[in-house]
């Protein structure tokens, strides 16, 4: 059973009724075409009403849907061939971060991304998609390998944050992230970043410095998770929905701010409802943007990448009257 959100329950119930009616028609041979059409019309209106008016926090919930496609799902859907490459060559292989090399429509690419599990067992093995420093070091190793062979890099970003654990701190979580950010910035190869689900703070930015940054329609990207923000502001993580409004973490906000370049639309109801459809959509975006950045001479590419981030920030040279 697909988990259902509270706000889509009326729609799911209506869809179930339509399905029941269809079954009834086929088993009893009674003509209910008119009734079905009417219900379909109502369902369509409801769909529009629900999914076009999602609150920021409902989007956050969509991004966390357990059936949402993961990095390995996208790799399976989009690459013709793929070999996963393991390990950071220093400590261990971190299952929360996957990567490897494969072919995207005939072009060799390196693909990297955090990996959430589908069930409890897989989630335990993958630490719920929360990478340790060795995960980021693996990502960096694979990115440098891509640079060596002048392969474009695609990162799929879906991570609520880097793992806040004792061993993670012992092995330098902050330092691993800093090194990823710094080295990625100067890599002499095209980089395409796609935020597919959660873009949680430094753990996401660590693999999010690219030449084009795209985002799925129901993904979020923020300096802090809504829950953590609510805890800091009101000492109450249950007010996460309010915090999500304040943080301006939706693709529409980030597009307006110039942080991302484009938004990849999802099938109505979210990516989890139709993996193949979102895969197809994503393929078109990757094809277009990969071609765009691949034809830029590499010196210029790196220069533009640096200039892009250099320009980000909001400040004034005069003290604002409202702040005076």
């Amino acid at each position: 059973m697909m988990p259902v959100f509270e706000w889509e329950r009326p729609l799911v119930e209506l869809e179930a009724r339509i399905a029941d009616l269809r079954r009834f028609v086929s088993t009893h041979g009674i003509d209910c075409a008119k009734e079905i059409a009417e219900l379909e019309r109502r369902a369509e209106a409801l769909r529009k009403e629900i999914y076009e008016n999602l609150t920021p926090f409902q989007r956050v919930m969509m991004a966390r849907h357990p059936k949402r496609p993961t990095t390995l799902d996208y790799i399976r859907m989009l690459l013709d061939e793929f070999d996963e490459l393991h390990g950071d060559r220093e400590f261990r292989d971190d299952g929360a971060m996957v990567g490897g090399v494969g072919l995207f429509e005939g072009t060799p690419v390196t693909v990297i991304g955090p990996q959430k599990g589908r069930d409890t067992k897989e989630n335990l093995a993958r630490n719920f998609g929360l990478p340790h420093p060795e995960g980021y070091r693996k990502a960096l190793r694979l990115m440098k390998q891509a640079e060596k062979f002048r392969r474009p890099i695609i990162t799929f970003i879906d991570v609520v944050g880097a793992y806040p654990g004792i061993e993670a701190e012992e092995r330098g979580q902050g330092m691993a992230i800093a090194q990823c950010i710094e080295e990625m910035s100067f890599l002499r190869t095209p980089i395409l970043c796609i935020i597919t689900g959660e873009g949680g703070s430094g753990g996401a930015l660590a693999i999010g410095v690219g030449d084009r940054i795209l985002m799925l329609e129901h993904a979020w990207y923020s300096v802090i998770s809504p829950e953590m923000c609510a805890t800091i502001l009101w000492r109450d993580s249950s007010r996460a929905a309010e915090a999500a409004e304040l943080l301006r973490l939706t693709p529409a906000d980030l597009l307006k701010f110039g942080i991302i370049d484009d938004v990849i639309t999802e099938p109505i109801g979210g990516a989890h409802r139709d993996h193949a459809a979102v895969g197809q959509q994503m393929r078109a975006f990757i094809r277009r943007y990969l071609a765009e950045i691949s034809k830029v001479p590499v010196d210029e590419l790196v220069e533009r990448r640096l200039a892009r981030f250099r320009a980000i920030g909001k400040f004034t040279t005069e003290r604002m009257p409202s702040n005076a």
Partner: protein
């Protein structure tokens, strides 16, 4: 306190006089040490650079830090910048205003050109008293300008970090992006063959630690400074494990190979001077 400002600075973003008393610092004659509980005569403590006999390093304001680090009259601060409120985050303008009043600073970083034992450098100091020393657009921009100026003038950079919260939540995604911006500024400076000494003071966490502060050629820390990515409370809540003694202290970071050395405050200036000296371009005699 020494006056470290150049006599006629182009811009004045920080008051010359003694900063107003701060909560964690003495606001009267006597100061209680947070570590050993002893009452100390404040004037005497100041002479000892706010290091207690028990070894506890009190937190310093940026201006206090500047006065014990830079040569007298050498500091020329950058043009001041002021935070915008890009998200219209509730309470942020008031928070900025309160921080300005409490610290006498425009934002959380004090930065400019300075000299240590006659050697020129770009010196940046983050003040914990300004919204936890968090990095928003102003801190990110000023640090970036610092590294850029240092590339232009071929100067070393020394940054004292002390930001409990890391990135400044109130500026949302803009503050997250300052991690990339500052890391890239370090990267360009580094690729120009220049020295960056990162000094971690209590506390250096989150987005500050996970960006420029981790990227020093040489990383120093003050004794007992809290250094890490995730805050200790978050780690405890997530893992449901008891934290090992001394977790995320400077000593812990040294033991795990994350920093080069721990330097006590009274030796910091001389240590920086030695490091700057080792990296001076050879001058023909």
């Amino acid at each position: 306190m020494l006056n470290v400002f150049r006599s006629k600075p182009k811009y004045m973003s920080v008051r010359r006089e003694e900063p107003e008393p701060r909560k964690e610092l003495p606001d009267n004659l006597w100061t209680r040490c947070e570590q050993c509980g002893q009452m100390r005569y404040t004037k005497e403590l100041e002479k000892e650079q706010f290091v207690c006999r028990c070894g506890h390093h009190f937190r310093l304001s940026a201006v206090q830090r500047l006065s014990i680090t830079a040569d007298e009259g050498s500091f020329a601060p950058f043009t001041p910048l002021f935070a915008a409120d890009p998200l219209n985050f509730p309470g942020y303008p008031e928070k900025l205003q309160a921080a300005r009043e409490a610290t006498g600073m425009d934002d959380a970083v004090l930065i400019g050109e300075a000299a240590v034992e006659g050697m020129p450098l770009v010196l940046g100091i983050i003040d914990f008293g300004f919204i936890g020393g968090s990095m928003g657009s102003v801190v990110g921009e000023q640090l970036t300008r610092g590294f850029e100026l240092a590339v232009e003038k071929r100067l070393p950079v020394v940054i004292f970090s002390g930001g409990g919260g890391g990135a400044r939540m109130h500026e949302g995604i803009f503050s997250l992006m300052q991690m990339a911006k500052t890391a890239q500024a370090v990267g360009k400076h580094s690729r120009a063959g220049l020295l960056f000494v990162s000094v971690l003071t209590h506390p250096t966490m989150g987005g500050v630690y996970a960006s420029f502060a981790s990227l020093g050629d040489i990383i120093l820390a003050e004794p007992g400074a809290l250094i890490g990515f995730a805050g200790p409370r978050i780690v405890e809540e997530t893992t449901r494990q008891k934290l090992p003694p001394g977790f995320q202290t400077a000593e812990f970071a040294l033991e795990h190979g994350m920093i080069d050395m721990i330097v006590k405050r009274p030796q910091m200036r001389a240590t920086l001077a030695r490091l700057l000296k080792y990296h001076r371009r050879r001058v023909k005699k």
